[in-house]
Symmetry: C2
Subunit: 366 residues, 2 copies
Amino acid sequence: MDNIQNDYQSALHVNDGIPQPAQVNPYLKKKPLKRAPQLTTLEYVDGIRAHDRTVLSKAITLIESSLPEHYAQAQEIINACIPFSGKSVRIGITGVPGAGKSTFIECFGNHLIASGHRIAVLAVDPSSEISKGSILGDKTRMETLSVQPHAFIRPSPSAGSLGGVARKTRESIILCEAAGFDTILVETVGVGQSETAVHSMVDFFLLLTIAGAGDELQGIKRGIMEMANAIVVNKADGENRHRAELTRRQLANALQLFPNHNQTEWKTPVLTASALDGSNIPEIWGMISSYISRMKGNGSFGQRRIRQSEECLKSYIEERLFNLFYSNPDVREDLEPLRRQMLEQKLSAYTAGGLLIDKYIQSLKH
Amino acid sequence: MDNIQNDYQSALHVNDGIPQPAQVNPYLKKKPLKRAPQLTTLEYVDGIRAHDRTVLSKAITLIESSLPEHYAQAQEIINACIPFSGKSVRIGITGVPGAGKSTFIECFGNHLIASGHRIAVLAVDPSSEISKGSILGDKTRMETLSVQPHAFIRPSPSAGSLGGVARKTRESIILCEAAGFDTILVETVGVGQSETAVHSMVDFFLLLTIAGAGDELQGIKRGIMEMANAIVVNKADGENRHRAELTRRQLANALQLFPNHNQTEWKTPVLTASALDGSNIPEIWGMISSYISRMKGNGSFGQRRIRQSEECLKSYIEERLFNLFYSNPDVREDLEPLRRQMLEQKLSAYTAGGLLIDKYIQSLKH
């Protein structure tokens, strides 16, 4: 990448020609030089395929941009990368704040790299615009991982709806896979709807928790437990080891009462681990590997991926259809009055809905 | 109602006039007599408001009909009844097959009627077309309740999607309330998505279960537990009493581990009961009443109803928008090829979705 950048810079320098007198507005000339040089789609794709992390990073910035010209080029890059994507193991990691997600990912990631893997760490946190990058934003929290040449760390896109953030992360996964990363870790916060989004884009979903004061499960939504393919009680080190083991047993019991109906051949394991002393980290990777090979063996791995693609297509179409409907001026005009009539018990919800749909169809025909 | 029907029949009889010679096709004349006499919308609404169960029943048949002319009249009746609706307590009842839902509803319903209530029993079972009316279909299972003048029992509409069945039940609730029923029981089977539909139309959601061989919770989806405002372990009678009490305690423990995050002021109670000897049946009604008055006291009752109306409007609009999209001939032409390209990793899901939306918008403009 350094070479490409140098080429661009010297090309621009050559274009300066003979030194010119100072202009009235000196920024007029300097401004273009300050912008990062634009790459062509081919340069992006070649750079990604050549494992160039700087080009990958720039391409993801393009995906995250809200400018229409960036959007078009991002789509070109994604569609050019798609044939080279899909070969990684995608692992979702969630957990309540304080569960030690970053430290766990750093320790886990370093272990994977030591075993010869190339890992990319992405994040989904639609709240990060408000919380100013609560996850992965502070790269110093992963300082030993971020300096590894075989690691790529990217914070959550900070703008937009959950749907938008999820989309950007999905598209980033494609580029990371095309850039040769064989293990993608997608981090998310353990509250709200973002877990469902992450669950729908990964092969394995890991729930991270810690020992608490007896009510440690209070913070975990049951729906998230149901999505988890494994639960890890983190910070099982020092004096905390015993309490972590107790929590592990409690969770295992609870899972017996509420088995995961979505998994027929896999009983959600509950493990303790410590990102501090590294205990059980290799075992967790072993457990994930055995899950993946079992699922590949019986065809569920591919089926899950197909289901995820179809779900993604469906929910994207839904989102677009709603946006078109609710942003339609004729619909907007009638929505509030009809809603009020419905709430005042003058109209059934179905009648109100029917009238709005009729209005929408009419307005599209003009 | 018998009077109205007699009036109609005699009116038709009078219209026969002087006896005519037999026709070539004898059915030509007799056929109209075999059809139920049509009522005007006003007659329907008046009959419903006069607590006439036969007119109510006919109006619900109109709601369930798939004929367009029936649809139009049904909407008129519903919108005329809406101002008189909303005053009942709506209770959803679910449970795994074998939990004794019908016996429980019969016992519970008889208790309510003895306390001066008028109760309507409806059902949501989208599978009933296949299972031939597995719930409420066999009225003999509720023979002591069905003969009560203050009870109205209606099996699940047997045709259509879950959305369709749920809609028909919602509309039936409006008519039942306009007909003076102050307590509506909506039964559903304890499997699949119909619980969510029923939960979205009731004020209180009761989960019925029984003691089993240690794995009694296996059959209950965690999502349903999360929706329940109370859990009743039924068939707590005779030799079974002890096991029922054990199951009750297990469930209470499990709920402590997984509290219902949607309820801030209500801790889901777990009770045993017997529909056979009537034990705890009055207590269950007392518990529901205290829930309702508490929720009415702090405003949550009205808020839940408003939320349900808005959800209903939203999901109806969604359903209609999807149907319009997926039944569009231009979309249908492109959907399968684009889907295949997406699954063959030639196109991202977002690109495929975008192309389909563009095609749809174009086709609407013609």
